[in-house]
């Protein structure tokens, strides 16, 4: 079984290249047993490359990825018995039905839970006898998840699992993942664009931007340090330079609006805010918590310099 001292997932200075193109640069991260790590990033940020590297499907140009403490490029076969995978592009022989696929897997995995797979397919509402090739993209993903959990893996890797799912199917997927976490304490590593859906399920968040991991943190801590501060700025005799009032904060993004200033800060504290609101020329100051999506936009949606500032603030 899992040695608690060994992180099931670890990456050490992973760099991935495709020819001359750099997909990931110097990525180091570690996922503790029982955590749910959500890797976020815009399209092309390198998320899928990193997943393929973790699964031993892509050899890193430098650095190493580990599953259960073993180099995943060298020991892919052995680790796979303990890992369940839902790939970004669901792939299976198009002529085989979900039931036939499950039957096939039963011969490969000694501990295969065929009844559990059927129950899951039923909850998802996926027809068990329809050939895989005739299912919708969302249904194919659901078959992949039902099969991925069939051998009770210790680690579940999901590459954009809600892609192509409607709102009802997404709900069923969250419940399935939450149920599995409750039953078995599975470690989950996922990439997603569905930030609102995984906000309450993820325990840790990583943000990839242009191949670099610019943020890697526990979600509760991340959310406690980010706030949107809004205020009206009045220049006075003692203060003539605009913007200096924000000096106590690390601003990830500042916007000047007609009514005043809208700033997203990454090192919020109640004490610092109390001092801020009593500053000369700061009026009607309010601080508002941010959703994960808003934090993501502030950190990864702006110019590279801004993102670097936000990263520096996290240290």
């Amino acid at each position: 079984m899992t040695d608690p001292a060994v992180s099931p997932i670890r990456m050490e200075a992973v760099t991935i290249r495709y020819g001359r193109a750099l997909a990931c640069q110097n990525v180091t991260l570690s996922v503790a047993s029982g955590s749910v790590y959500a890797l976020l990033g815009r399209n092309g940020a390198g998320k899928s490359s990193l997943v393929r590297c973790l699964l031993g499907e892509q050899r890193p140009a430098a650095g190493r990825a580990f599953l259960f403490g073993a180099d995943s490029w060298k020991t892919r076969r052995r680790a796979m018995a303990r890992v369940g995978i839902v790939p970004e592009e669901p792939d299976a022989p198009p002529a085989m039905s979900a039931r036939q696929l499950s039957e096939f897997c039963r011969r490969v995995y000694p501990s295969w839970d065929a009844a559990g797979v059927s129950a899951r397919l039923e909850r998802f509402g996926v027809p068990a006898k329809t050939p895989f090739g005739r299912l919708s993209k969302g249904q194919k993903g659901q078959v992949m998840l039902a099969l991925a959990l069939g051998h009770s893996p210790e680690v579940l890797v999901l590459d954009d699992p809600t892609l192509g799912l409607d709102v009802v199917a997404r709900g069923v997927l969250y419940e399935e993942i939450v149920g599995d976490l409750a039953d078995r304490g599975t470690t989950v590593f996922l990439t997603t664009h569905d930030l609102a859906g995984f906000e309450a399920i993820a325990t840790h968040v990583g943000i990839l931007k242009e191949g670099r991991l610019i943020l890697d943190e526990e979600i509760e801590r991340l959310k406690s340090r980010f706030r949107r501060i809004r205020y009206a700025s009045r220049l006075t005799e003692t203060r003539t330079e605009f913007g200096t009032e924000l000096d106590a904060f690390e601003a990830a993004r500042v916007r000047v609006r007609g009514w005043g200033i809208d700033a997203v800060v990454s090192n919020f504290s109640e004490a610092a805010f109390d001092r801020f609101r009593s500053l000369d020329g700061v009026e009607d100051a309010s601080a508002e918590a941010l959703s994960l999506e808003e934090i993501f936009l502030a950190v990864a949606g702006e110019t590279p310099e801004k993102a670097d500032e936000a990263k520096g603030a996290g240290r």
Binding site: G34, E199, I201, E294
Partner: protein
Amino acid sequence: MAASLRIDPSDATPLWSQIEEGVRRLVASGALQHGAPVPSVRDLARDLRVNPATVAKAYQRLTDAGVLVVRRGEGTYVADAPPPMSRSERTRTLRGGAIRYASLAATLGATREEASEELRAAWRGLDEKKGVTP
């Protein structure tokens, strides 16, 4: 119970704390009666679509505080005589809610008078629900 537990992942209060406060509120208002069963960690986590560890943390704190009791092999229940909230806890909870409401009102650009009037109207609404004539 999940339907009456309102949680907001984008709120500044951590989710476990929102669940903890929510359960306390339901017990205090009588919506959850003394001795009544509460959903399992697994069921509540699924209904709320939150990490089960978050629900487990809230339940653990509520159990430590004597609000909930775990009966081995049976499940989790509201205590037969849950302790009233301590004075400081009560003040803290009240103040936290007030700060959240005041920030919301400020964000929406409401005046103090407007915000206070909404608060009075909300009180009247609660009184009507309870059948209390003002």
